[in-house]
């Protein structure tokens, strides 16, 4: 550690003003603050002293995704060997999935961080850490067989159009990870939906339909009988979103550290449950009659609720707003799932839709608060 510090100190002057690599200052700064706690302090004005800067926040989220990631790697292998009908040991399954998922993660980070660094350089900003989380979330929400060049394009699109045009980390309207997925979904639908893509190198004869796929065509029998499979995640699907248990482990980490908002998580589940119950009331087909709690374990509902909806940048900022924001996400997600035949999974679209509405919700929450306080003032002065 000491040697590293000395080395950084030695090359530092070259990156300061007037140095040889002055232009690369933000790149140097990014690596230095990534490796060591920054020693900069502010001198004037009031400020909050808190050890939880953005890097710590982001790292906690990355750690919280690890259970889902590890399980996802194993499940990719498990599903593959299941489809080709070979039975191999646990480590073979895991290793197969690891080799499948690793390139996706590498491409996601290299492309995303490359663009982030380039923009920081051009604008003379510090490099922001926002992509650390998006970079791990994107591999978790794509099918294991996604062609890497498609992934690279969608990551570039999400980082540039979804984030940098608005001014970088913290300024984006939409969740970047979901922007990438939405781009893939609309640009290359044949690689992002249907029952061919959810198992890595699937054998042709094997049905690769996800529970959502079954449900979409009205075939509810396999869905009803596999609640436990869906809960634990032994189903085909996107890399990291099959296992509700692993995702909930991540949720515990987020909640314990206070980084994910419990208000949003709880209200997303409440919204989904409410919509499920409403459908149960008017059950005109099998899908509508599906018990409401099944929606939690199918598809990306849990993953979206825990990791996507709680993105502090694109979610509502006010506490009341968070309840409404989350509730509507759950509601719309289940609504799209059950009613719209074109989209088997509604979570992505629901979250993106509510991302757009989040500032509006906040606006009215703040306005209502101002009104209420004005009223109180009038009553007092009267």
């Amino acid at each position: 550690m000491k040697a590293l510090r000395n080395y950084l100190d030695k090359i530092k002057p070259q990156f300061e003003k007037g140095g040889k690599f002055e232009k690369l200052h933000s790149t140097f700064d990014a690596f230095e603050t990534f490796l060591f706690v920054p020693d900069k302090v502010t001198f004037r004005g009031s400020h909050i002293r808190d050890t939880l800067d953005m890097k710590r926040t982001m790292i906690v989220v990355v750690i919280a995704t690890i259970p889902a990631l590890l399980f996802g790697m194993w499940n990719v292998g498990y599903q593959h060997f299941l489809s080709v009908g070979e039975s191999v040991g646990f480590w073979d399954q895991f290793f197969y999935g690891f080799l499948k998922v690793l390139p996706i993660i590498v491409v996601s980070y290299v492309v995303g961080l490359g663009i982030e660094f380039a923009f920081a350089q051009m604008r003379n900003h510090e490099v922001n850490e926002g992509y650390l989380v998006s970079g791990i979330l994107i591999p978790l929400i794509v099918p294991p067989d996604i062609p890497l060049w498609m992934l690279a394009i969608s990551v570039a699109f999400a980082v540039i159009i979804g984030k940098e045009v608005f001014g970088g980390t913290g300024m984006n309207i939409l969740n970047p990870a979901l922007t990438a997925r939405a781009f893939l979904f609309f640009a290359y639908p044949q690689d992002m939906s249907g029952d061919k893509v959810w198992i890595a190198e699937k054998a042709d004869a094997y049905s690769g339909a996800t529970p959502l796929g079954h449900a979409l065509v009205g075939d509810l029998e396999p869905v009803r009988s596999s609640f436990n499979d869906m809960l634990f995640g032994f189903i085909p699907g996107s890399v990291g979103e099959t296992s509700t248990i692993a995702i909930l482990l991540g949720a515990l980490i987020l909640l314990y550290t206070g980084i994910g908002s419990w208000r949003i998580m709880a209200s997303v589940f409440a919204g989904g449950y409410a919509m499920g119950l409403i459908f149960n009331l008017f059950a005109v087909n099998d899908y509508m009659a599906l018990p409401a709690h099944y929606h939690f374990v199918m598809g990306g509902f849990a993953f979206g609720a825990i990791f996507m909806a709680t993105d502090p940048v694109s979610a509502s900022q006010t506490n009341r707003g968070k309840y409404l924001y989350g509730f509507l996400i759950g509601l719309v997600a289940v609504l799209i799932r059950v009613v719209n035949p074109a989209y088997p999974e509604g979570m992505m679209l629901a979250i993106l839709l509510m991302n757009v509405f989040a500032p509006l919700i906040d606006h009215y929450v703040v306005e209502a608060n101002i009104k209420r306080r004005l009223k109180r003032l009038k009553v007092k002065s009267a």
């Binding site: 060049w149 639908p189 044949q190």
Partner: protein, 219 residues
């Protein structure tokens, strides 16, 4: 208005040149004035309709500008919009009929959008802002300039959308000739959807503003 200065102005004076060249860049109807967006989104999925649309707008706008400019002193101000609309509508019907006669397929593709040239904000905007107060020749140049400004944005957007969305340029399957489908390349379905037109126009605006700093508003 009869007391106009008798001094003869050269046909392409500096002022008149500006009328043509400003709308191409820093006074572009789409990227700066943000007019005519709806048709820019609707007809740019392929190059061919975009080109035909550009030519139609060129014809309508430059002729309408001249006609309105000739009539400008006789149009009662209170009904000027109606008069402008009558002129535009007549020209649009002409264009529509010509297209139906000579380019039926494209006319089918453009469907209502030819008729909707009437509501293209660029045309009304230029008639109202320029032709009503200027002589026929500058008005004609203004019409030309603005249509070219509109046309090049349309064509650039359509070029990228057709290239990446359908893998062709003006109907020629370029991507297939290059043989990159063989290595796993696929057309980007999102490029054909209207939102990508908006995003492409946005990117053009972004590039333009970062090269041209006097376009950036103070706030």
């Amino acid at each position: 208005m009869s007391t106009e200065s008798k001094q003869k102005e050269p046909l392409f004076s500096a002022k008149n040149k500006k009328l043509i060249f400003n709308p191409l860049s820093k006074d572009n109807p789409i990227t700066v004035q943000v007019l005519g967006i709806c048709s820019a989104l609707a007809v740019t999925a392929k190059l061919e309709p975009a080109v035909v649309m550009s030519i139609s707008v060129l014809a309508v706008l430059s002729i309408a500008n001249v006609v309105i400019s000739l009539l400008r002193n006789t149009i009662p101000p209170r009904i000027r919009i109606i008069v402008q609309l009558v002129v535009i509508a007549a020209l649009v019907i002409l264009v529509d009929q010509v297209l139906k006669a000579f380019a039926y397929d494209v006319s089918k593709q453009l469907s209502v959008f030819v008729g909707l040239i009437i509501t293209n904000c660029i045309i009304m905007g230029r008639l109202e802002a320029f032709a009503m107060g200027n002589k026929p020749w500058p008005s004609f140049l203004d019409g030309l300039g603005n249509s070219f400004g509109y046309a090049w944005i349309l064509i650039v957007v359509a070029f990228f959308r057709e290239l990446f969305g359908s893998g062709s340029i003006y109907g020629y399957p370029v991507m297939e000739w290059l043989g990159i489908y063989g290595v796993g390349y696929k057309n980007n379905g999102m490029m054909i959807l209207p939102p990508m037109a908006l995003i492409t126009v946005g990117i053009i605006i972004w590039v333009q503003r970062s090269r041209n700093s006097d376009l950036i508003e103070e706030n």
